[in-house]
Symmetry: C2
Subunit: 468 residues, 2 copies
C-alpha cells in the first residue's frame, strides 16, 4: 500500500528505531542530575547534539533540541525578534513559509510588530532582490526563508538571500524542515530550524540552531534546559533516535536522490499526458527530488484524496475542500495557481518504480470517475451548457454562490460555450477558492480573465479556447 | 543499583514500552490527514485521550497533550491569564510550586502583571485561608497550587483551596505532576497539568486539562493541533505510551502505596536515629507515599550525593552546592528548614525492603566520612574551637565570607563553645544558604538566633545546647 505523503510525516527509520530502543533503557533519567543515571542521559544527549550539529553544519553549542519543528520555529522567530528589538520591529517572511512561521509572524503583528510577506512567482520561488529591496527600507529585525517548499517542492535561493541579509546586517532564519535530510542548507543562515519526523526520526523532536554572534533572547517563560532556549524535560530517547536517523538518511541521500528524482520526473511528465486539464505546479528546475504537485480542473480535492486512498495511495492536497479547511492552501494562493483537485505526491525513501507506475495507471481513471460524479459524466468538457437555446449575445451571469469548489469553475466551463466569442460570462461565487481557480482556469483554457468585483468574476470568451 | 530519584524521572513502565513499540508502527503519520495512515494515527490519539481523561477525571475534550509537563504549565498559566485579562492581572502561586509555575509567574510579572507568592509552614503546606484572604482582595485572574510537593512530598489542601477559589469565581490551576500517578486530584480544580515521565511514561508528553467553562485564550503563536492549545506535530507514539502507563500505574497504585509507604516511614524514623544532627523535612502526615527528604548538618550536599552515588544510590538534593546551582532549593527556603546536606529519597514502584535497608546501613558511614572530610574528623561536634584559650566574654566574630555551605555553619559550631553562655557569636557569611542554615542550626541545637544584619548572623549561646 504505497504511502506517498512523505513530506507530511515518515515512519521511523530502522536506525532510529534501534537507537530509540537502546536510549529508552539508557536515557530516561534527568541529564541535570549528577548521579550515574543522570550522567548516562547527559552523555547520550551530548553525543546526539554532536551528530545533529555535524549534519546541520554548526557547532554543537549552537544547536538545541526542541519538542517539534513548530516549537523550533516559534522559539527561533520570537527569540531573534526579542534579541533584535532595538534594531527594529519589522519581520520579513515569504508568502509560502510553513504555517508555523506565518503563525509566529501573526503573533508578532498582533503584538504591535510589522510583517512584510514577500511574494513568489508562479513557480513558488522568492526573489533575493526583493528581499534586498525590503531590507534596504531599514528597521528589519529578522528575515525568514524556507530552504524548500513543503507543498510544491520549490527550492529557494537561500545563499543569495542570505548574502543580502548579511549586507544589511539582518539575521536570516531558514526553516529547513523539508530539505535537511537531503543535505546541509546553503551557507549564510543565522538561525536554522528543522523537524525530525520529516526525516524518519520520531515525532517530538525539532532542531533550533542559532549561530554564535546572533542576538537572541529566548522567549519567556524559559528554564535552564537546552541553554535556556527550549524549556521542559529533554526527550532524550527521541533526540538520540532523531540524530541517528539524520545521520543515516544523509548517508543514503545520494542514492535516494538518484532513485526518486527520475520517478518524480516521470510523474511530472506523464500526469499531464494521461489526465486532461491538469497543471503541474512548482519550479521545474529548482526543486526537491522526492516531491511533485499537480492540480486537476473540475475535481473536488477531497473526493480525489478519498478515491486515491481507496486505491491504496496516501497523498496530500492543498485544495480547499479537504478535511478541516475551507480555503485553499496559502502556498497555492501565493503562487496564483489552480487549487482545485490538488494532489501532492511525496515519495518516501525506498519507493520503487512499480508503485509509481501503478499510481500513473490508476490516476486517470480515478480523476475521470471523480469528475464524472461532479460534472455528470464528461470530464474536461462539462456535460451540458448552463444556458440552453442560442448563444446569449449580451453575455451571461452564472450564480454559484453558496456552492463549494470545484462547482463555480464547472459552472463557468458549462456556460462559456453558451455565449458568443468576445462576450463575458460573470460567475458569482463566494467560495474563496474561486479567486484562485477562475483565473487559473482562464490561464489553462485560453479565455481571458477580466477581473473580479467582490464575488463577481468576469471571463471573456476567446476564439479557439477550450471548451469550445 | 538502587535508583531512589523517582520524583525526578522514572524508567519506562513495561506497559508503556509495549504501547510505544506498537504505536511507532501505527501512529507515525499526521492525524490531520484523511488518508488511511492519518486516520490510524488519529484513532490512536483519540483512544489515548480517552484513557488519560478517565485517569484525570475529566472529559476527553477538556484534555490536550503537550510536549512536557513544563509546556503544559506554561500554556495553562498563560492561557488562563489571557482568558481572564478583564478579571484582573493578579496571579497567586504558592512559594513552593515547581519551577515551571514560578517561571511562568516571573514572565507574567515582567509583562506587567502582579504575582503574590503565598507562604508555607515549616512542613511545606499552604493555608487555604491565606489563599481565600488573597482572593478577597480582588483582581485575581488565576490561582495556582501544586497537589503535592516534588521536593519534600507535602500534600496540599487542594479541595479547601479550590472551594475558596470557587467562591471568589477564580480558576485554580493544579500542577499534579507528582501526585497524578497515585490518584485523581481532589475535586474543584479548573486547570490541571502533569508530566508523563514522572509516572513511567516516556518523556516528551505532558497533560493540560481545562474544564469546560473556564475562560482560556491559548498563548500565541498557536496552530490547529490539540484544540489550538499545544502547537506542533502530535507525538502520538509517546502519547499512546503515556496514557497506557498512566492506566497501568493507577491499577498498581494501591499495591505500591502499601509497599512504599512503610519503607518511607522506616527512613523517616531510622535516619534521625542512625545519623546525628539530621532534620527530616516535609509534612509528617499529609505526604506522598514514596518520598522522604532530610537534611544533615555540617555536610556538603554535593559531596553527599557523590558519596551515595559511589555506593550505588541515586538520590537528589536541594542543597545549594549541587551541580549548577549556588542557592538552596526555593522549596527549602520557603519552608525555612535546613538546606545543608539535603537528600531527597524518592522510591520507584517495586522498590524492595532490602534496598532501603541497605541504604540505611550505608548512610551513617557515608555522612560520617563526608563530615570528616569537611570538619576534620569529628562529626556533629566540630574538631577544634575556632578561638583557642579561655572563652571570650564579649562574644566572637567568625569570618566565613567567600566560603560555601556547609562551612559557615561548621565555623559557627566550632566557635560556640569558645564563648560564655549568653554571649553572642557573629558569623559573617555571604553564601545565600547561611540565611537558611544558621537559623535552622539554632533551631536544631537549642541556641538562639538573634537575627541578621546583611551578611552578619548573630547567635546567642544557650546553656545546655549542643555542641557544648
Amino acid at each position: 500500500m504505497p504511502y506517498f505523503d512523505a513530506a507530511s510525516s515518515l515512519p521511523l527509520h530502522p536506525v532510529a528505531r534501534q537507537a530509540l530502543l537502546a536510549a529508552l533503557d539508557e536515557g530516561w533519567a534527568d541529564p541535570a542530575r549528577p548521579h550515574r543515571e543522570g550522567r548516562r542521559a547527559r552523555m547520550l544527549l551530548d553525543a546526539a547534539r554532536e551528530t545533529a550539529a555535524e549534519a546541520v553544519g554548526c557547532r554543537p553549542d549552537e544547536l538545541v533540541f526542541t519538542s517539534s519543528g513548530t516549537a523550533a520555529v516559534h522559539a527561533g522567530v520570537a527569540g531573534a525578534l526579542r534579541g533584535r528589538r532595538r534594531a527594529g520591529r519589522r519581520l520579513l517572511v515569504s508568502a509560502i513559509e510553513h504555517s508555523s512561521v506565518l503563525h509566529a509572524a501573526e503573533a508578532h503583528e498582533r503584538a504591535g510588530g510589522e510583517v512584510r510577506e514577500l511574494p513568489v512567482d508562479r513557480a513558488g520561488r522568492v526573489s533575493a532582490e526583493e528581499y534586498a529591496a525590503e531590507l534596504a527600507r531599514g528597521g528589519v529585525a529578522l528575515a525568514c526563508l524556507q530552504s524548500a517548499n513543503h507543498e510544491v517542492g520549490t527550492v529557494q535561493p537561500v545563499a543569495a538571500t542570505a548574502a543580502g541579509c548579511a549586507e544589511a546586517g539582518v539575521p536570516l532564519l531558514v526553516d529547513a524542515a523539508q530539505s535537511l535530510p537531503w543535505g546541509p542548507v546553503e551557507d549564510g543562515w543565522s538561525l536554522l530550524t528543522a523537524s525530525a519526523h520529516k526525516w524518519g526520526g520520531p515525532s517530538g523532536v525539532g532542531l533550533l540552531a542559532v549561530r554564535k554572534g546572533v542576538r537572541f533572547a529566548a522567549p519567556e517563560p524559559a528554564d535552564e534546559r537546552e541553554a535556556g532556549r527550549a524549556p521542559g524535560f529533554e526527550n532524550i530517547p527521541a533526540i538520540v533516535a532523531a540524530a541517528a536517523a539524520l545521520r543515516a538518511v544523509r548517508a543514503e541521500a545520494e542514492a535516494e536522490r538518484a532513485r526518486l528524482a527520475p520517478l518524480v520526473d516521470r510523474v511530472r511528465t506523464r500526469v499531464p499526458e494521461l489526465v486532461p486539464d491538469v497543471e503541474v505546479v512548482g519550479d521545474p528546475a529548482h526543486r526537491l527530488p522526492h516531491l511533485v504537485t499537480f492540480s486537476c480542473l473540475y475535481v473536488d480535492g477531497e473526493a480525489l484524496l478519498h478515491a486515491l486512498d481507496t486505491e491504496g495511495f496516501a497523498v496530500s492536497s492543498g485544495s480547499s475542500c479537504t478535511s478541516s479547511t475551507l480555503t485553499p492552501s496559502h502556498v497555492l494562493r501565493a503562487m496564483g495557481v489552480l487549487s482545485e483537485g490538488n494532489v501532492r505526491v511525496s515519495l518516501p525513501p525506498g519507493t520503487g518504480e512499480a508503485a509509481v507506475d501503478r499510481f500513473l495507471e490508476v490516476l486517470p481513471g480515478v480523476v475521470e470517475r471523480v469528475r464524472g460524479a461532479v460534472t455528470g459524466g464528461s470530464p474536461g468538457a462539462p456535460a451540458s451548457p448552463a444556458s440552453s437555446g442560442p448563444a446569449a449575445p449580451e453575455g451571461l451571469t452564472v450564480d454559484a454562490r453558496g456552492r463549494r469548489c470545484p462547482v463555480p469553475v464547472i459552472e463557468l466551463a458549462k456556460a462559456i460555450p453558451g455565449v458568443p466569442v468576445g462576450a463575458v460570462v460573470t460567475v458569482l461565487a463566494d467560495d474563496e477558492a474561486a479567486a484562485l481557480d477562475i483565473p487559473a482556469w482562464c490561464e489553462m483554457t485560453g479565455h481571458t480573465f477580466e477581473g473580479a468585483d467582490g464575488h463577481a468574476y468576469r471571463v471573456r470568451r476567446e476564439p479557439g479556447a477550450a471548451p469550445d
